[in-house]
């Protein structure tokens, strides 16, 4: 690649930022692996549920990330975007990243819950409060992603998506409470429930906590990478790269005599350090 074609990307990531992400990723993998090891081998089976209880090191963790962390972050970021004082496309892109990762975790929640439900309750699915709200949340997330796919200026798209997130955020408590008035099959809050804590064996409690930490780390890593992808997509797609290239070429660098400088530009040289 012609070094004269290299462009200084305004999106340059400092070496420190890249290393932080890498470390978070490694920490995520390690903590997850540790959790799995503890969950499958070290911790004891439950008195009532037997080995099935080992799913508690996966299911509540992904549920917490999807429902509260991801969705909460998306809603907060959307509000921050809509608020004039803090308006910045950073919040919009953060919300979008949180939603996409949230969808993945939401699907994991539903699947892990279903797999737990089949042997525990006898059914793959039940229409109780928790499950239904989670399913509705998934559909709302998917709607958000669908709306974002509609081509538009970044600001317009950001506004539209932010409003949608706002409507969804308002709706989720209502859905949850309305479905709560149905009979509930899903057990109540585990960690915050005082009745349950005496029956959680020490190592189980610690592993549960670790699972939350591990999955949160996974979420953070995914969020950062997905955010980066969003920035790259917007920047490369908006023609700023072409503009920067043209500027660079106009700086008086001798054009390629064979006249295929434009070809090289279309081939999109990599801005330094963009990854």
């Amino acid at each position: 690649m012609n070094p004269n074609q290299r462009v200084r990307s305004p999106l340059l990531q400092s070496a420190r930022a890249r290393w932080t992400v890498r470390i978070i990723g490694i920490a995520a993998v390690l903590s997850t692996a540790f959790t799995v090891w503890l969950g499958l081998w070290v911790t004891p089976p439950d008195q009532v549920q037997g080995d099935l209880v080992r799913l508690v090191y996966i299911h509540p963790g992904v549920a917490w990330v999807a429902l509260y962390l991801a969705f909460g972050l998306a809603a907060a970021a959307s509000l921050l975007y809509l608020w004039p004082r803090t308006r910045s496309l950073f919040w919009d892109r953060l919300a979008a990243a949180a939603v996409e990762v949230g969808v993945v975790f939401n699907v994991c929640t539903l699947i892990s819950g279903s797999i737990w439900g089949k042997p525990a309750w006898g059914v793959w699915w039940a229409w109780d409060a928790r499950l239904t709200s989670t399913a509705v949340l998934l559909v709302l997330f998917l709607g958000y992603m669908a709306l974002r796919r509609v081509p538009a200026e970044p600001e317009v798209r950001a506004r539209r998506s932010a409003f949608l997130a706002l409507f969804a955020a308002v709706d989720i408590p209502i859905v949850h409470f309305s479905v709560l008035w149905w009979k509930t099959l899903h057990q109540g809050a585990t960690v915050l429930n005082p009745d349950l804590s005496p029956t959680i064996h020490g190592s189980m409690a610690w592993t549960l906590l670790l699972s939350f930490v591990a999955l949160t780390l996974v979420f953070v890593w995914m969020l950062v990478v997905r955010y980066r992808i969003g920035v790259l997509e917007d920047w490369l797609g908006s023609g700023e790269l072409d503009a920067a290239l043209r500027e660079r070429q106009a700086e008086g660098v001798a054009p390629d005599p064979a006249g295929d400088g434009s070809e090289a530009a279309a081939g999109a040289p990599v801005p330094e350090g963009v990854r």
Binding site: G143, L147, R159, F163, I174, S178
Partner: protein, 223 residues
Amino acid sequence: MWRDTLLVAGKDLRIEARSRVALSQVAPFGIVALVLFAFALGPDRALMATGAPGLFWVAVLFCTVQAVQRSVSVESADGARDGLRLSGLDPAGLFLGKTVAVAAQLVVLEALLAVGVVLLYGARIDVPWLIVVSCALGTVGLAATGTLYGALSAGLRVRETLLPFLLLPIVAPVLLAGTRIWQAAMAGGTPADGTQWLRLLVIFDAVYVALGIVVYGPIQETA
């Protein structure tokens, strides 16, 4: 704001009166939906009577989507939306006006569907006032959220497929509450349960109408 509400509601309803789209297209669609449900559930009358509340509300939801699509599309021609924005109409009034218009159409459709449900499914209504109130409150909720989402998706070419997908999950509480209230109001139900759900509908309506009043203006600027 109220003057603008009446202005806009009147405009939309006049358009409807002249074109009669809701009456000639949406209503038959609702009836067709009821008939199809009957085919789906089979000849067991008891089953249909039990399922009547839910089926009624699902049919209402389908009609809502149609009515909202229509409400949005009357303004997509000839830059009418820009015209509305420039006209100096209070956006809250615009929102309320469109909501009122959609709600009015829905009320008529619901009456029609309710008659259909009673006739076709053999549903027996014990407590009529619950039915009426639930329909009224549910309609307000559906119309308000529909208008909001219509505005959000107004300029999009994919609106026809996107709007239902966005709208229906949001109005799930209305479906839930409406069905429960109807079940309470039917022969063999307990009316006391119904009043609990009425509270939910009131909250839903209050939240989304308030939200619409505040947010409709800013949304218009993105369409």
